[in-house]
Symmetry: C2
Subunit: 118 residues, 2 copies
DNA sequence: TTTTTATATAACTATATACTCATGTAATAT
DNA sequence: ATATTACATGAGTATATAGTTATATAAAAA
């Protein structure tokens, strides 16, 4: 088992924390196919300008996205596409959980039915 | 770009939230090489019994770990080792960030030095 | 049966953080 | 110069959650 010090756990936790927010995930997903400016992300996410801007600032500070100002606009883009591998893994996990739950549910239902029929 | 509904973002965020806590990461890492009971995890993590127990209950409710009671003890184990792929990816990200930062720092320092020498 | 051991949980506190509203700032347009 | 557009940020509020303390529960030992 790899031994990590407390600081390492804290760093990893902070990283996951960034992804532990629906609006931020939405924003990141919105940037999947290329840079977008703040207004575009506001429209896309359905959030308020202030809130989206704050999330962008956080993601930028953590270096998950980068900012480029052009004129009065600020364009944000993904720094490393690998971030989507993480999300993909989680989606896979959740999909599996749900299919497992569905299967369990089905077998529960059929067990109930066969009991009712006996 | 894949379109996800708000519920999907919420689910994914909740999953990441589970990993966004140093003590829980420590516990999960402690289970990497096989099942352990609560006392062992308390000793290993340095947390209190109550706190470790709570985290275990959370991880269990989310189906990241499973519980098996034997006698007075409760043994917990990882449900799907894929969880460590996630942590591995994040560690990789952080390692890269740090090496990038180190490189930037070095070039900053050498720039300062050459300026001082001029 | 009583005690001990191992674990879970309820009540509470402290802290972090997501959000809103209002305002600041900076580049462009008029 | 002034107004407008695009974005960032400070203050304040509400909520979530990690942690502690005390207690409940349940199996095993005495």
């Amino acid at each position: 088992m790899m031994q990590l010090d407390d600081q390492a756990y804290a760093r990893i936790a902070k990283y996951f924390q960034l992804l532990a927010e629906p609006m931020r995930l939405k924003i990141l997903n919105g940037l999947r196919d290329g840079e977008k400016n703040v207004s575009e992300l506001v429209a896309l996410s359905g959030g308020t300008q202030a809130n989206v801007s704050k999330h962008l600032t956080m993601l930028c500070a953590a270096n998950l996205i980068q900012r480029e100002a052009r004129g009065t606009k600020a364009y944000y883009s993904i720094v490393d596409q690998q971030i989507f591998d993480l999300c993909g893994l989680v989606c896979g996990q959740l999909a599996m959980q749900m299919s497992t739950a569905a299967a369990a549910n089905e077998s529960f239902i059929s067990a109930m039915q066969s009991q009712a029929n006996s």
